[in-house]
Structure formats: C-alpha cells, structure tokens
Symmetry: C2
Subunit: 154 residues, 2 copies
Amino acid sequence: MTETTLLVSKIKDGTVIDHITGGHALDVVKILGITGKTNGIVLIAMHVPSKQLGLKDIVKVEGRELDQEEVDKIALLAPGASINIVRNYQVIDKKRVKLPSLILGIVKCGNPACISNSNEPVQPIFYVEQEEPLRLSCHYCGHIMEKKDVLQQF
Amino acid sequence: MTETTLLVSKIKDGTVIDHITGGHALDVVKILGITGKTNGIVLIAMHVPSKQLGLKDIVKVEGRELDQEEVDKIALLAPGASINIVRNYQVIDKKRVKLPSLILGIVKCGNPACISNSNEPVQPIFYVEQEEPLRLSCHYCGHIMEKKDVLQQF
C-alpha cells in the first residue's frame, strides 16, 4: 500500500523527536512552529505503545535541526523525550532532553504583579520543583506554574 | 527500528483520510477535534509526495469513523481527499469526499450585516463558485468566503 510506504519512509536529513510524553506531539509541533505552510515532510504519531512510557508520541521533521530554546521547551512538556539528528538517512546523534534545575527566560510568570512582569529588566527565573507533572516556582514571587500554564505560552 | 515499525503499524479499526491537499493535515486534525487528550493512535503525514497532488497529507485515526459534518468540512479544505473506513485491519469502504454545490449550515457568512447573521432563523447557504482554491458566495448577500475565512471557523 502506497500510504504505508510513505509513512514509513525514512527522513533523509532532519530530526526525530521520540519518547514524547503521550499526547504532547501537537504541542511539540506548535513549539517547532510547524504549520501547513512549512516545507518538508513531517510525520507525527500519537498514542503509540511504549514500554517506557505506556503511550508515547513521535515527531519526525525533515530538513531541520532544533535550536536550544526549542529543545528546552520540549523538555518542559516531555522530559523523557529523545532528540535524534538524522543526516543522509543515518542517526548521527541521539540525546535525551534534559530539564535544567533553573528555567531562564523561556517561561513568563503567570502572576501579573511579579517583578518579572514589570517594566524592570528582570529575566524570569523558575525552579523546577517537579518534572512530571511539571511544577515550576518563580524565583521572585513563588508563583507556581504547571504544565497547562506553560503550554498556554508556547 | 521500533519507531519505524510503530509508524507503519496498521490501524485495526478507524479511518484513513488520504489525499488531503498538502499542508492541511493539521486543519483536518482540528476539524476532528483531535487533541493530546483524545484516545487512540493518530498518525499524521505532511507533505509526502503524491502523483496526483504533488504533495499530500494523510491522517489515520484509530477507533473512530467520521460523521457527515466532519466529512463535509474536510471536503471544503481538501476536495480531493478520500476517506477509507478500516475494520479489523481491512479497508471496508473507500470514498472520495464530495463538495456539494450548495453548502448548508456548516459555514457562517463573514458579512456581519448579512441576514444569516441576524437573529432571524435563517440558515447560512453558500454556492460553491470554485473548489480549489475555494470560493464560496453567500446566497443572501453575495459575500465571498475563501478557504482562509472558512478555516478560521473550524
């Protein structure tokens, strides 16, 4: 069947994001800015069985590699994800995302009164209190951000 | 490779929407209300080569069949799409979507002054002037709706 062949076709150059927490593939797609207008093959699998995770999602993106901010954002949603760089059909690099203990800059505090939301030049800083389910606490005001709060910003 | 095997795995029961106009897979996913919280395997392929369409998208959804309103909405975005019903790993029915000449009810007129947007009990009616790129004209006020206008409503 043609469609089966197409779905299985390997990516020549690009990135495979594997072991995404089940249900977060479309969030990863959003983080990567993938829309219908993006070029290149994109393959997305949602809710496939995984020994490690129960259910996992996979996103394969042809023709691009991820920058650090994209990887950090993925780590917030899917701390078990692995990023595989593919060149000429071969996986040349494979690494797990890693959630740092401090989140700098990529998440804004949900407390409007927080000094990081004022006009002061204050970079948002969060402590990772818990990875899964995600729980971040603001360095300045102690406000707690959960995964759904973070997702709204991506 | 495990991930390859998983991507190619057939759907036991569900629907394969094939020959979606390239770039519209995520719109189809939205029409079907698929989010991370939906159950069942979902496979999405974007921008894969197609003899007929140049580039096409494919969406496979396990565990559900589509209702007529969903099929009609898909026809507006991707008039070349085919809907394959799968039961017990076999395609038991395959049909092309068909854009009717009159669109009843599923698109609202973008002209706020149109009588179909008043409090009167007037069902929106559009004539399909052109399938691709989509061009609908309102029966009541002649307002033209293009694909992007329709997409905003889905």
